[in-house]
């Protein structure tokens, strides 16, 4: 089968499976969204004016069906397949339910936040990738030197601190104590949005610490892996041949060694994408950065299940898409995988 077609079908299947899991969680998780809404309705916090509701279990009543339909797209008393199709149809057409704490459609809350998280995520991934490739390669070329020893030790230390705690420490030192960076937020409130220097500078200044902390998420282990890959590659026979042919050393290091050592790192990005989006929850909470993760945190605090499930779906879908893109481009970066379709 065609490589791209196969990967596309795989991505679609994963997407379907993930959405189905989300539906099952929404509908049947004990203490989950539907259970929670019922409890809230009994307490009179949501739904029709409290006088109309009987204190008995409202499950099965028309009012409860209507309420659950509005908030989480589930009609609890309908047959299972009907519930499933109602939910799937609503989700696929972009209706993610209604937020309890913001009392407006979830899309209206989360959609404006998506670009900010994407911005943090992509810049974080690229920064971390470039920095760790460079540092790993430098340590590999100086293998056995003091630079290598000190660098490797420092990398192990960095690896052992959870990245969001590195972020927290940096926030304390550089923003709160030294005042180099803003304490939180996304933009400079005084600047007018648009392409002008004060606004752009504000965006960059606010994003600097979150991006750096996100990049730390896989930096230590990644740089160590790059160092190991490069050392392995440096011992290969084709390099000696290249040297004997008198090829320029710089050309050998950049074109031959780096390319082959980076390849395995590219696969690691598949796994990393998920980490970055997950990590955004903690980072955005710490830095008060209003992206998807921040709203997930707000959803947790207010037990706002519709909001939580919506962000969960959005993050999952972005990861599936990102993995698909990485998969397809990997075939382009390393043509060998297209021929050997079983190696994955």
């Amino acid at each position: 089968m065609n490589y791209y077609l196969k990967r596309g079908l795989q991505a679609l299947f994963t997407l379907w499976a993930v959405l189905t899991i989300t539906f099952v969680l929404t509908r049947w998780m004990p203490g989950g969204p539907v259970d929670f809404l019922r409890a809230q309705m009994i307490a009179g916090n949501v739904g029709p004016a409290s006088g109309e509701v009987t204190v008995q279990d409202p499950a099965g009543s028309e009012q409860f069906d209507d309420l659950a339909r509005r908030y989480v797209n589930v009609v609890p008393s309908a047959p299972i397949h009907e519930q499933y199709f109602t939910w799937m149809k609503a989700t696929l057409t972009g209706d993610l339910g209604r937020s309890i704490s913001f009392s407006k459609p979830v899309e209206a809350v989360v959609v404006p936040a998506i670009p900010w998280t994407l911005f943090l995520g992509t810049v974080g991934i690229i920064t971390s990738f470039v920095v760790r490739v460079v540092i790993g390669a430098v340590l590999a070329y100086r293998e056995g030197s003091w630079l290598d020893f000190g660098g490797s030790t420092a990398l192990l230390w960095i690896q052992s601190v959870p990245f969001f705690l590195i972020g927290l420490g940096l926030l304390y030192v550089t923003a709160y104590q030294w005042g180099w960076f803003p304490l939180g937020g996304r933009v400079n409130p005084d600047a007018t949005p648009g392409i002008n220097w004060p606004y752009v500078a504000g965006v960059l200044n606010h994003a600097a610490l979150p991006v750096f902390s996100l990049a730390m998420a896989s930096f230590g282990s990644g740089a160590i892996a790059m160092r190991a890959n490069s050392i392995q590659e440096l011992g290969k026979d084709y390099l000696r041949v290249a040297q004997l042919r008198g090829i320029n050393l710089r050309r050998v290091t950049t074109l031959y060694v780096a390319r082959n050592a980076i390849l395995p790192m590219y696969t690691g990005m598949l796994i990393q994408l998920g980490y970055i989006f997950s990590g955004a929850i903690l980072i955005e909470t710490i830095f008060n950065y209003k992206g998807l993760g921040f709203y997930l945190f707000r959803g947790i605090q207010a037990r706002d299940y519709p909001l939580m499930m919506a962000v969960f779906i959005l993050i999952t879908v972005s990861i599936v898409i990102a993995m698909f893109v990485a998969d397809v481009t990997y075939g382009w970066v390393d043509p060998r995988v297209k021929r050997d379709s079983e190696s994955y």
Binding site: Q10, F13, T14, A17, V18, I21, L25, M29, P30, G31, G32, L156, W157, Q159, S160, V161, P162, F164, L165, L168, G169, L171, Y172, Y176, Q177, L270, I271, G274, Y275, F277, S278, G279, I281, L282, T285, I286, L296, F297, I300, Q301, R303, M308, M309, V311, F312, I315, T316, I319, V320, M323, S343
Partner: protein, 358 residues
């Protein structure tokens, strides 16, 4: 058929035992030598595993004896936000962080050191040192249960898929792919909010939900390669059972990889639990380093330079444990290297034979 074959092997085994009788005690000694003393020696020789073992042993000691020696942290034990090392780094005087008093122990009067707010206090006047110590046992329990559960699921799924092949392989690997696509932290958050786990071991089990897929995928490809090795094929031709092939032929080969992964998983469980406690998703049932960090973050430790100890000491406790485990796993490959191990085991026969050959 299979049972007959294994009878033949048993017969062979008992023959070789008859030729070289070994008492139960000797066999135990050999086992201890091979699996405990020799690895311990190798771990001590390697600088990284030595440092790592000392650090992890320190935590184990804190979690067992330390909890018993230090008092439970209480609210308003002392004035809030006292700095670390009261009375100066060098102890002296009654206000110092280290006071040596005479106590009677078994009828003898001996000097006994007492620590007084050595790491200062937090905003509610709790002793930070006592909080750190009493947060250790639940964290160790969580990390151990989570690490074991994650590794077990990953090994069973990956090995089984790789060895069986066919429809089962496709099914298990699809499940693995889906698990990899589901974002770990959001899933854990949704589950944790609904389940509200109280016990540390339940938290550990919960955290294993999102981490097994990576291990099972890489084990799958390793087992795939091992499956066609000649000695595995030989066992299959002899009609040995699937379980015994997996246990005796496949597992020993991937054991180093599994062990190193186990260490990685415990670190991941520690980091993830701290993250969840920091977000306030898990109920605060015990003292916890993540809860301490969250407390410091949201109650004003960020605002003043004088409260650094409140914020950074729990972070340091988390990181040092992680560092210890990483250092052990860094040197672990040497422990599993049969040549290095043979050189270190002295009493067992096989060890000497291999050592003599080298």
């Amino acid at each position: 058929m299979a049972s007959e074959d294994s009878n033949i092997f048993k017969a062979l085994e008992s023959q070789s035992e008859a030729a070289e009788p070994m008492s139960t005690r000797e066999r135990w000694m050999a086992w201890i030598d091979l699996w405990i003393i020799a690895p311990a020696r190798i771990m001590w020789i390697d600088r990284r595993t030595r440092i790592g073992s000392i650090i992890v042993a320190l935590y184990l000691l804190t979690g067992s004896v330390g909890v018993w020696l230090t008092e439970e942290p209480e609210l308003n034990e002392a004035s809030p936000l006292r700095g670390p090392f009261p009375g100066g780094i060098i102890p002296g005087g009654q206000e110092s962080w280290l006071v040596v008093q005479d106590t009677t122990l078994l009828g003898l009067t001996v000097p006994w050191p007492t620590l007084n707010y050595v790491f200062g206090t937090n905003n509610t006047g709790q002793d930070i040192f006592e909080l750190l110590v009493h947060a250790t046992p639940p964290m160790l329990e969580m990390a151990l249960v989570g690490g074991i559960a994650t590794t077990l699921i990953g090994v069973v799924v990956g090995t089984f898929a790789g060895y069986k092949g066919g429809r089962i392989e496709r099914l298990l690997m699809t499940a693995t792919d889906i698990q990899m696509a589901v974002p770990g932290l959001p899933l854990l958050i949704v589950l944790a909010v609904a389940i509200e786990p109280q016990e540390p071991w339940v938290v550990g089990l919960l955290l294993s939900v999102d981490a097994w897929a990576g291990l099972s995928r890489s084990l799958h490809s390793q087992v795939l390669a091992l499956r066609s090795e000649s000695y595995v094929e030989a066992s299959r031709v002899l009609g040995l059972g699937e379980v015994s092939i997996l246990r005796d032929d496949i597992l020993p080969n991937i054991m180093p990889f599994i062990m190193i992964n186990f260490m990685g998983n415990t670190i991941r469980v520690i980091a993830a639990s701290v993250g969840l406690y920091f977000l306030g998703v898990l109920p605060y049932t015990t003292a916890n380093w993540g809860v301490m960090t969250q407390n410091a973050y949201s109650n004003g430790a960020m605002l003043s330079a004088g409260t650094w100890h409140w914020l950074f000491l729990p972070i340091f406790a988390i990181s040092l444990l992680g560092y210890g485990i990483i250092m052990i796993s860094q040197g672990m490959d040497r422990v599993f290297n049969p040549r290095v191990r043979a050189r270190q085991s002295s009493t067992s026969e096989g060890g000497e034979a291999v050592a003599a050959m080298e």
